[in-house]
Point group: C2
Chain length 228, copies 2
DNA sequence: CAGTCTCATGACTTGAGGTCAGACATGAGT
DNA sequence: ACTCATGTCTGACCTCAAGTCATGAGACTG
């Protein structure tokens, strides 16, 4: 973990910091391979050496680019998270149906996306629960700074449509949404990728839609305007 | 991490498995020291060797007792979690005030307890977010099996008092309560122990009570019967 | 073509987790 | 007391992955 204040974020770029010469492609290839390895093996079991040899490059090269295993994971994590859609990327017709229908849409979608390409989901799961508090702090800073799912804008959207309570500050709603969605989604997907990881499994398969509805109902009561 | 199916749970007890001779005291001392080290340094940074030398014993001895660093942490985690109160341990007068007041009571208490003895809180935090998915799976199995906070009984209590919705199955309520309480509590306490670990900090100090109230309000709407 | 920069390399160091053969302790049976 | 068996402790040892760095190959500049 290379101690406190390690150069986790910034690879040890050389003095002049010329934005990015031509090694961009290599970085990308490393990150992609790393995502696969982390996703398949977990953080600890993944070996930097394996990633290097799979790519036919030297291990030292990876450290030159990313500074540490943590640094490499962090990049992989960022890439994974950035590959996810933002709330307001939902199709226009769904958006017309409002805040909670957008949520339903994405929850349903997630399920499909998982099967098509589960790697980024797994990597984000690792970032959320399976690395180290030092790294998690970094990750939270990133999430806070980038808001990669566009939660803030989405909540504003809901408020403007009058679907959300006015008596809660936006900060609080954003927090609640982040927490519960993350957790619910993690529960949904670990059910498939990783049975037994989360508590309270419930009965798999087709009850999933019912659970989504139930979850949304609870969420609506919590932060939404009471239904007519 | 010693691979899949490592003897994480069961220390390599010898053939006859005589329940526990006299080494019980030693196990306890090791676990206590381990809790301190994990709490202070985090999972990775904590060194088994340090724990051993602090106790003036051989490192090998620890491995004999707990099989692996994971195994040791798992025991520390269990001890930490078991040291927390159960929901229904609240004083009688508080219990008389009902489900949500019990929650408020514990949330307020947590704050004080943290200052008195923050070590177990930190250890449970590590178990929740800062180790490894393999271990987390073990931890979740444990939480599910032991229900150390007595959430199930507590929810039943709330249902019997008619404070909780009837149209949600108990399983769902328990999940929601577990999730949100864990998360909210983690947010409260990391604010003190570990600023910057969680997103959305809010303004520290004295607004805490207001936040608790707000949180309970949201929770009541989500899973409680609508107020008169 | 010399000079300078970036980038790649792989042998090397470090250090923590984990192992194990043997020393040591304990208690029961004779 | 002596022995044997069982259980416990030890510390030297092993393994293996993260991380380092001197060196050198390319590539661009003037």
């Amino acid at each position: 973990m290379s101690g406190i204040g390690s150069n986790l974020v910034s690879p040890p770029r050389y003095r002049h910091m010329p934005p990015r010469p031509r090694s961009e492609g290599k970085r990308t290839r490393i990150i992609d391979a790393a995502m696969r390895h982390f996703a398949e093996q977990g953080y600890h079991a993944a070996r930097v050496g394996d990633i290097a040899s799979e790519l036919g490059i030297a291990k030292g090269s990876i450290f030159q680019h990313f500074g540490s295993k943590d640094g490499l994971f962090f990049e992989a994590y960022k890439k994974a998270v950035r590959s996810f859609p933002r709330y307001l990327d939902a199709p226009a017709d769904v958006q017309g149906k409002g805040f909670f229908e957008i949520l339903r849409y994405w929850l349903a979608c997630t399920e499909h996306l998982i099967h098509e390409d589960w790697i980024p989901y797994r990597v984000s799961l690792l970032g959320n629960y399976g690395t180290d508090l030092t790294l998690k702090r970094e990750i939270n800073r990133f999430l806070l700074a980038e808001d990669p799912y566009g939660t803030v804008a989405f909540v504003r959207f809901g408020q403007e449509r009058g679907e959300l309570r006015q008596d809660l500050d936006q900060e609080m709603i954003v927090s609640i949404l982040d927490w519960t969605m993350e957790r619910f989604q993690d529960a949904l997907l670990t059910e498939e990728l990783d049975p037994g990881l989360f508590r309270r499994h419930g009965d798999v398969a087709e009850k999933k839609e019912a659970r989504i509805t139930q979850f949304l109902d609870v969420l609506r009561r919590a932060i939404g305007i009471a239904e007519p």
